[in-house]
Structures are given as structure tokens and as C-alpha cells.
Symmetry: C2
Subunit: 203 residues, 2 copies
Amino acid sequence: RLGAGLALALASGLALALAARRGRPRPVREVLFFPSAPSCTEELLAEPGGVRGPCSCPLPRRDCSLSRLLRRLLSARSSLELCVFAFSSPQLGRAVLLLHRRGVRVRVVTDAQYMALHGSQIGRLRLAGIPVRHDQERGFMHHKFAIVDRRMLITGSLNWTTEAIQSNRENVMVVEDEEYVKLFLEEFEKIWEEYNPSNYTFF
Amino acid sequence: RLGAGLALALASGLALALAARRGRPRPVREVLFFPSAPSCTEELLAEPGGVRGPCSCPLPRRDCSLSRLLRRLLSARSSLELCVFAFSSPQLGRAVLLLHRRGVRVRVVTDAQYMALHGSQIGRLRLAGIPVRHDQERGFMHHKFAIVDRRMLITGSLNWTTEAIQSNRENVMVVEDEEYVKLFLEEFEKIWEEYNPSNYTFF
């Protein structure tokens, strides 16, 4: 057992040393708790080449759970898989649209009952050309996770609504971890195929 | 940087080697996806010294996400902190009662609006003598996490309801990880104090 432990230790040691040598930062391991007090996120969400000056709203520009979540999402460069039960936060909606415009491949899975609710961002995303799929089930598509660049998993209790962000007790974990990303990506692809519109039935 | 990486590698190597030498299993890292098909969990939930024979129900006794979740919870020997929005699953309710009877120190935080709903297990837990605290807020206490023996974190999208277990797309992460356990324990203690009944206001 000691031999195996040492072998594992050497292997992980080598990986760490190589990562350090290449100047790679340590993998992200972050937990965000909500509620997050209202704050201005205009700077984070500014369009590239936008002509607007600094935002004149009275909200503080502070580091908070929402701004951290936005930063993590906006770090996407190639892909974003989104699997969210309720999605009505305008700020999170703008972040996803921004990524889509930057050429990030965005795919969204959501819940059929909730996507039509007042303030839902799903219609905006679809109008912009983002592929969205939803269930046809009695149960809820109740996941709330995102995968950034097939590298970082964002998951927790938080639905993407202003209500939840500002009023609820919620948690979101942000982890760069191959094992977890792989499992959640597999879950996403499985649901993505099951919710393929060619499988829909109409009554 | 190479020096720091190597130092870290040596430290983690030493920890791994020591763990291996003591025969400690690797820390749990598990993701459970739902829905979980109906199954019989009587064997898992049998009272110690109970006189009932094997269950005669027609449900299969299979390894599934619910049985795995129950096993993780039932592994508690000293403490269970529970922070759950909706709690109406009779099986999960029985598991928590069983732990309480075994002398595990159980504390429960829940949402005021949801704890009175039909089928809620909260009343049963209180009657058995388990301390329960709830919010007095407009927002929801929307967490769904548990901490076993201050060692293992169980968290995700799953509310503790039969509906969610059997019909919804849900995820639960089970992690033995000091860093995450510490953050969620701090969140639990913070909420536990804020929801202290001596702070309640009555209108």
C-alpha cells in the first residue's frame, strides 16, 4: 500500500511541479453563497466596442457573489453548456448573449414549464440564435449547472433568477476538476439527445 | 515556482503515503444523478433490533441514486447538519430519525413556507426531539445540503421530496473535502444563529 501511495504521490507531485513550472494557476475551487446584495454589473457586461460611458446608476460596483459568477461565465472562450431550470436574470441573460456574440458555442437545456414564465430569458437567447432544448416530461428539469470550456463546472442550488440571486439562501460551487466536468458533461449530452426536438411528441 | 510546486507535491505525497499506510480509503468523490427509479429501501432503513422480516413489497432492491444517498447519510456516527428547502420524502425522513435515535446529533434548517406543506417531514422530526430552525424571510431558504460527521458534504439541486427523487432531473455531489465542508459548515452555523427563535419577530 505504501508503494502505491508513493507512486501516486510521485505522479501527483510531478503534475504539480510541471503545472508550477508552466506558471499555471491552481485549479479554481470556489463556493459562492447568496443572497448577493444588488450591485451594478454594467462594467462586466459592457459590449466590446460599445460607446456607452460609465454607468450612472446609483448601485455600488462591488465584488459580490453575482459579479464572481458573471466573471466565471464570461471567462468562456470556446464553449458553454447550460442546464438551468429557471432562467430569468437579465444580467445572466446578457452574459450568455455576450458569449454567443463572441463566438462561444452556447447550448442551453431548460425546463418546459418554466421557460415560458414572465421575464424568462430563454426567448431572447433563441432569437439570438442560441440552440435551446427543453423537456416534455411531467417532472422538472431541475438542474442548475454550467460547464465553461469543458474545463470548469458551475453548479449548486441557484436558479438563474433575480429573486434567487437577491433574496434566497443559495450556494454555487465553481470547480476546475476533470472528473466532475466529465460526469456533468455526460449528463448534459445525454439530456441534450433525449430532448432532441425530433423526439418530441405532439398531442 | 518550481520550488513551491515541489514543496506542495512533497507535502501532498506525504499525506497520501500516510493515508495509504493507515489503510484509509480514498476520500469520497461521487455524483448522483436523478431521477432514481422507485426501489425498496426497507433493508437500509431497518431499525436496529426490529422484528420485521424481509419486506414483501414488489419493488426491486437495487443500487440506485436514492439508495446511495441513504447509505451516505446513514454512515453518520456523530453529527448531521441538514439545510434543506423542501423535505417530504418519507425514506429520507426515516433515515434522519434513525440517526437521531442512534445518538447522532442532528440539526435541521429549513424554509418556513415549505415546512408546512402536505407530507412535510419536519413535524415528525420535531416531535422526535430534533432541533429545527427556519427562516422568517421573504426569500427562500433554498439550500439543499447536508454535512455528515463534519467530514462529508452532500449538496446539489435535489430537494428531499419523492417527486424530485423519482421524477426530476437532479444532481447531488458527495465529497469528503475539508475545504468545502468548512465553508458549508460556516454557512450552516451562520444561518443556524440567524434563525435562532430568540430572534423571531411576531406581528
